[in-house]
């Protein structure tokens, strides 16, 4: 029944597309809604991209924040919007985690994706005074004394959790995992309440630069120029490649011509002086990427997250296959 409905809607959409293909040439004719799923940095950067995209598209791109549920509310809104390109979602790795942990009844393929804007690695952080100087030293101690060392992460099913689980599983370490919000994670490193933390890259970087904490490893495939001495997990023999990314998504079935226009505008906006300046200042890697490349990346990252979640017994995707 449901499938029939989809087929019917698909046909209607296709018919409409043909009718409106001429109109598409002029897209966009009105303002575009830019849905932001998180506050803080995601919000600030989302607004910057939206502003720069307005210049490219000649129509206002209006930032609208729909915060909550680890992105669940924003992604549901974009998924249910008309596939006409007038509703754009500012996505992140959460589009893979929140779906696979079953917060929403669909997976990332329920949306069409325009591309990526930027990415950053997930570092493994310890206090500068800590007795471990390499990830191996930490993991060895953790292996020898299971359930004693504590590792803080952002919250169950979050990207930092995935990275933390992947690192510790690969090294056979059984830590006590502490779900702790943002600033408290850094505080707990300083006060010694937790032995280590898995964090997002640029925020604890300040602490590292101030000589208060140190990175033992980062999760991405390549070393990061902002911390060139920190080895990647891969170099340390852990088979993983994990990045936090941000990019754009639209409703499924959005006409290709519109997606191409959005892609071009997004990439131009990402390379704008103001935005690249902020990325540089925050040490987030600017890595604009189009639809094809991003689709491949998402596929790989999703498989990665699903396998981590399955191993940890967290996989609860509710998408109908």
């Amino acid at each position: 029944m449901l499938d029939l409905k989809h087929v019917f809607m698909g046909t209607v959409a296709a018919a409409l597309m043909m009718v409106s293909s001429q109109a598409q040439a002029e897209w966009p004719e009105k303002s575009i809604e830019f849905i932001i799923p998180f506050g803080g940095g995601a919000d600030v950067e989302g607004r910057m991209i939206a502003k720069a995209m307005s210049k490219e598209l000649g129509q206002p791109v209006v930032p609208v924040s729909k915060i909550g549920g680890g992105g669940a509310i924003a992604y549901t809104h974009v998924k249910n919007s008309k596939p006409d390109g007038y509703t754009v979602g500012w996505n992140s790795t959460s589009i893979l985690t929140t779906t696979n942990i079953g917060n929403v009844p669909f997976d990332y393929t329920a949306l069409d994706h325009i591309g990526q804007v930027a990415q950053q690695p997930v570092p493994f952080v310890v206090s500068a005074k800590a007795r471990w100087n390499t990830l191996k030293e930490f993991m060895d101690e953790c292996k020898a004394k299971p359930n004693t060392l504590k590792i803080a992460f952002a919250g169950f099913g979050s990207a930092t959790h995935m990275a933390g689980v992947a690192m510790t599983n690969a090294m056979g370490c059984k830590p006590i995992m502490l779900p702790v919000k943002g600033a408290d994670r850094r505080k707990m490193i300083l006060s010694g309440e937790t032995d280590a933390a898995v964090d997002i890259f640029f925020v604890p970087l300040k602490m590292v630069k101030a000589g208060k904490s140190k990175f033992l490893a980062i999760s991405s495939g390549k070393r990061n120029p902002a911390a060139p001495n920190v080895p990647t997990a891969k170099e340390l023999g852990i088979d993983m490649e994990f990045d936090l990314f941000r990019g754009l998504s639209v409703a499924k079935g959005t006409p290709q011509a519109i997606k191409d226009k959005l892609e071009a505008a997004m990439i131009k906006a990402a390379s704008s002086k103001k935005f690249s300046g902020r990325m540089k200042k925050l040490k987030i890697t600017l890595a604009p990427m189009g639809q094809k490349q991003f689709a491949a990346k998402l596929k790989k990252a999703n498989a990665n997250i699903v396998s981590i979640m399955k191993k940890a017994g967290m996989y609860q995707a509710k998408a109908k296959k």
Partner: protein, 499 residues
């Protein structure tokens, strides 16, 4: 001195931040002045604006409103004998007789000057105490923070309630509301009934708008129907205080400022209590206590310096520990969180220039408060003539806009109205709403710290008693509950004796 202090000063002294402070002061004076509008309502009005502004600017605006709202409350207390805000109640005792004696301008001038000194004193407390407290608080671990939050909760309930049972009950409702949405640790959905809009939980500000503004609007509409009128304002001559008055003010202001700052630091005590205690003490220490109550300048200066000193004091636990002392600081916390800034000891380490920016914005707020109040007073009091039939509907609209703009979700408007209904029911039951709101702010943190402590200690409850900080806070919490039981018992006995 850390370089953050200078950076913070420059941030707070940029023209746009200063402009925001000035606008905040203007709005604050107006809402403070209008009886039936509290500072919280004023903040609700400007709230939708702050979402789009930069964090420094929006906080500056709110601080201006907070400081000036305290001062503005005294205007209607003096002119109409109706305190514009609860904190100005004590000011009316001497302010109104002086105004009736034809010296309205003199009374207002004294109130404004005393407010300024009180505010400035509390700024110094904020500036010097906050970094020290933040340093200490950096050593707090999860069990300590859990106990600290519990202490915050008990003290709030005991102060805000006429009846301890009703206060605690309100706090329990607040804690229950916090459990709606995704569990902060595991992300499990609780009480969402499959409704995606509930996964993010009930936003504190949505609940606040409903609980505070809606019952107040209903009350005001009831007044309009009944046809109660506040009467006309008296003519105001010069508002600049005379040298003789300034000399007389020295003692009460010297008493009021530290009392206000100290009580501001304690969560829950707030403006009204500080104002009355300060009035009491300065009367006892005064050379001519018989003047009090008949339009004594000292009787105006004492409560006014105290209630403005509360503002800076209340910012101390808010900035360093993330604990709100009153609804306004709770709103400030929520406003910071919207911008991704988490108030707490780490704010001084990671965003030191922002933390000091807030402190210096508070300084500017006090400066602009006195300037705008003294210069614009004669025009500002005209606001008191605006008919409520115009004012109240506009505020009702702003409530809807505010609750929608928070997350751009119309669902929140329904939530806001539901809380409005709850607020009306609670008022009917004579139950305080402040403990409910503060429990909502503290509740989530209490849960997080409790669960993190238990995970880290492998479910060993003794950690709450072995850590000295935690034990200390728990003892304080027990003492505060015990104290309020005793106080309630005593006041009941006094009532019995009187009847």
């Amino acid at each position: 001195m850390s370089p953050d202090v200078l950076d913070g000063f420059f941030r707070a002294t940029q023209y746009d931040t200063i402009f925001a402070v000035a606008v905040g002061c203007l709005v604050g004076l107006i809402v403070g002045m209008i009886p039936g509008l509290t500072i919280s309502t004023g903040i609700i009005i400007v709230l939708p604006l702050t979402f789009v502004l930069e964090p420094e600017i929006s906080i500056a605006l709110l601080l201006g409103l907070y400081v000036s709202g305290m001062t503005g409350g005294s205007f209607s207390a003096i002119l109409l004998n109706i305190p514009g805000t609860p904190s100005a109640t004590a000011t009316a005792i001497d302010g109104n007789p002086m105004a009736k004696g034809g010296e309205a301008g003199r009374a207002l001038g004294i109130a404004i000057t005393a407010s300024f000194v009180g505010g400035l004193f509390s700024f110094l407390c904020l500036f010097f105490i906050s970094p020290i407290l933040a340093d200490v608080a950096l050593q707090f671990k999860s069990p300590d923070l859990f106990s600290l939050m519990i202490f915050g909760l008990t003290i709030i309930c005991s102060f805000a309630a006429k009846s301890l049972v009703k206060g605690l009950l309100a706090a329990v409702i607040g804690l229950a509301v916090v459990t709606i949405g995704q569990d902060p640790m595991m992300g499990t959905q609780r009480f969402t009934f499959g409704q995606v809009n509930l996964t993010a939980g009930i936003h504190f500000l949505t609940a606040l708008i409903g609980l505070f503004a809606i019952p107040q609007l209903v009350d005001n509409f009831a007044d309009i129907i009944k046809g109660t009128d506040e009467g006309n304002t008296t003519k105001i001559k010069s508002v600049f205080p005379k040298i003789a008055d300034l000399k007389q003010m020295r003692l009460p202001v010297a008493i009021g400022s530290p009392i206000g700052s100290f009580l501001g630091i304690l969560p829950g005590a707030g403006g009204p209590i500080a104002a009355f205690i300060s009035y009491d003490y300065s009367k006892k220490l005064s050379k001519n206590p018989e003047e009090y109550g008949n339009g004594s300048p000292q009787g105006i200066a004492a409560p006014e310096s105290a209630n403005n000193a509360v503002t800076g004091g209340a910012l101390i636990p808010m900035m360093t520990l993330g604990i709100p002392g009153d609804p306004v600081t709770a709103i400030l916390i929520a406003a910071l969180l919207i911008h991704g800034l988490i108030p707490g000891p780490l704010l001084f380490v990671e965003n030191g220039e922002f933390a000091y920016g807030v402190i210096f914005s508070f300084f500017w707020a006090n400066i602009f408060n006195i300037i705008i109040a003294l210069v614009g007073l004669r025009f500002l009091v005209k606001v008191l003539i605006i008919p409520k039939t115009l004012l109240m509907p506009s505020i009702a609209i702003l409530c809807v806009i505010g609750s929608y703009a928070l997350r751009n979700n119309f669902f929140d408007v329904y939530v806001m109205f539901s809380f409005g209904l709850l607020g009306i029911i609670m008022r009917w039951l004579d139950m305080p709403t402040v403990p409910l709101l503060l429990a909502m702010v503290l509740g989530r943190q209490i849960e997080e710290y409790l669960r993190v402590s238990l995970i880290a200690s492998k479910n060993d409850i003794t950690i709450f008693f072995t850590s000295p900080f935690s034990l200390f806070f728990l003892c304080l919490a027990a003492a505060s509950v015990f104290w309020s039981f005793w106080a309630e018992h005593r006041s009941k006995q006094e009532q019995k004796q009187q009847t």
